[in-house]
Amino acid sequence: MNENLHGIMAEFREPEQLLNAVRAAYEVGYRKMDAYSPYVVEGVAEALGFKKTRLPLLVLLGGIAGAVTAYAMQWYSAVIDYPLNVGGRPLHSWPAFVPITFELTVLFAALAGAIGMLALNGLPKLHHPVFNAPQFKRASQTRFFLCIESDDHNFRLDEVRDFLQSRNPISVTEVEK
């Protein structure tokens, strides 16, 4: 087998075809595969075996970190490091600390969400083998792609090609690494 093969890629016209092909491929036993589409197609990620993303947890942790940082900073500077007696008012004037605590909660949570999404997606990654397929340019425009990768246990070149051909694609190509 070609050592340099990333996988075999089929191109579909309709999102439903992609969804059905992914479901069928999962049933046959392929696991190392990915689907590419110009907009989100409901159900494809789940059909690929994608369980749940940890992003909401990351965002929550980011928010908590922001809240703690902001409140601790204000409390420490106003009570410990730089106590300022303004007409005998309490140093720990918590209501005044709420706005900044809120703002930093949102800031840290949003940063955690954005950076977390890119990190979990492995981006930025400017090159990837799928870009070697010339028709892949259409993945960001109109077409839907399924690529079964060569490092899957069940990967046999001819079987995979026959399987993909049976799903009525526009084209099937081998993708070099």
Binding site: P38, V41, V59, P99, E103, A110, L111, G113, F136, R138
Partner: protein
């Protein structure tokens, strides 16, 4: 019984290929047009005027503005509040309408978010210039400094720094994340190598993997959920700059909601001011349809009523308070030296928007454009009245004074339009001004439902 057929969100006959082509061609294929060049040149001249006015302020000091005691807050604060309010509509459209499943936001959210960023760029400059010594603006931030000082956390002005800083950062993140799949489309449609390279790097190598899309959507929703309370908090914090002072006309609990409503009001006016020419010059009537204009006009009408309620409530409360300073302030606003500004704002913000009750007006782009411009003027005037009339006659008549903007005040205001417009013209030329991936989704869902 409703015989009227609802106007469509996208004209019929589009599929994902033609949507993609139409939006990307504006950037990739369309040659430089005379209209764009003329507009850009005009904006750029104003931007140079802005640079000149700023350079002069930096070399001479804020004394060249009209500000002095008692009116120490002049145009800089008025412009800041006005610009930041305009930004709010972009976030409202992109975040709040997303959470409410209003799919009419799809074709206007991208440029509305761009509008937010550019409005914030203008807004952010004014308080910095107003500092008098803008080069030490970082004293507002908590950092381990050799002076052993901390910011005063109980000050609304310090809250402002955090609110505006967070708002700017989150708006940039939200906008950029939303752009990533479209930048990948631009990369794949670009024909020349350097163009492909630039969009390729900016798209971070997005390849549309189903797993990536899943996380992308999750993030987008979470960011919308975060931006929603954020946008409400920003103008609330801005309003506390006024409300925490004891100055008559400022010291009022209605300020936060009243400011937020005013912000969304003026922001939608700006959205219409931009959308109506864009859809005409770039032939985008099929994507930014009459229904978008109609809906934006309805939001404007609703917020106009909230703002009107604010004006009425202010008047009522000053009478009900039986406080002679408050009563005098209200009478002085209506009949004092700044009465023309007051009645101009009532005309632009209360009377003119009543025309929006009529569907014939809401679906007429020319009429809407004029109303939107008047509302922009009215909202600037409102902030002018709030800032100036309260300060110029507060408590002791011996400390009263009159404020007039100098030519440098007007130059910085007009110059800031140049900054905004220059950025906006560049945005139209280099980035897809409508979200392509969301439009594809929309036309797909539409074709599904019509099957």
């Amino acid at each position: 019984m409703n015989a009227e057929v609802e106007e469509p969100l996208v004209a019929s006959g589009y599929d994902s290929a033609s949507v993609t082509q139409k939006i990307t061609d504006i950037v990739l294929k369309c040659p430089l047009q005379r209209g764009w060049l003329g507009g850009f040149a005009f904006a750029f001249i104003l931007l140079m005027l802005f640079n000149f006015a700023i350079a002069w302020v930096l070399s001479k000091g804020v004394g060249i503005w009209g500000v002095n005691i008692p009116v120490a807050w002049g145009f800089a604060i008025v412009n800041f509040v006005w610009w930041i309010g305009i930004g709010h509509a972009g976030t409202f459209i992109s975040a709040i309408l997303l959470l409410l499943h209003q799919d009419w936001r799809t074709s206007i959210n991208r440029f509305a978010e761009a509008m937010t960023l550019f409005a914030l760029a203008c807004a952010g400059l004014f308080p910095l210039l107003h500092l008098g010594r803008p080069w030490v603006f970082y004293w507002l931030l908590p950092y381990p400094d050799t002076m052993d000082l901390w910011p005063q956390w109980r000050s609304a002005l310090v809250w402002d720094v955090f609110a505006v800083g967070t708002y700017l950062t989150v708006s940039i993140i939200f906008w950029y994340i939303g752009l990533i799949p479209d930048l990948a489309t631009m990369r794949d449609r670009a024909e020349r190598k350097p163009v492909q390279l630039i969009y390729g790097v900016l798209s971070l190598g997005w390849r549309g993997s189903a797993r990536h899309w899943k996380r992308f959507h999750m993030t987008y929703l979470l960011l919308a959920g975060l931006a929603t309370p954020l946008v409400l908090s920003v103008h609330s914090v801005v309003s506390t700059d006024f409300a925490t002072a004891i100055v008559p006309g400022w010291h009022s609990t209605i300020f936060p909601p009243y400011f937020v409503a005013g912000a969304i009001f003026s922001g939608f006016a700006m959205v219409l001011t931009l959308a109506i020419p864009i859809r005409k010059f770039y032939n985008l009537q099929d994507f930014i349809t009459i229904r978008h204009l109609d809906n934006s006009a309805k939001v404007m009408l609703a917020t106009a009523l909230m703002v009107s309620y604010g004006y009425i409530s202010e008047g009522f409360m000053s009478w009900y308070s039986d406080d002679k300073f408050e009563i005098y302030m209200t009478l002085n606003r209506m009949f004092g030296p700044y009465a023309p500004a007051y009645w101009l704002l009532i005309f632009c913000n209360v009377i003119v928007p009543q025309a929006l009750w009529f569907k014939r007006i809401r679906t007429n782009p020319a009429a809407l454009f004029i109303i939107a411009l008047l509302v922009n003027v009215g909202m600037w005037t409102e902030r002018y009245v709030i800032v100036i009339t309260s300060l110029h006659r507060d408590f002791m008549p011996s400390a009263w004074g009159i404020f007039h903007g100098t030519r440098w005040d007007w130059m910085t205001l007009i110059g800031s339009f140049g900054l905004f417009a220059t950025l906006f013209f560049l945005f139209l030329r280099v980035l897809p001004s409508i979200s392509i991936s969301e439009m594809r989704d929309l036309v797909h869902k539409k074709s599904e439902s019509s099957k």
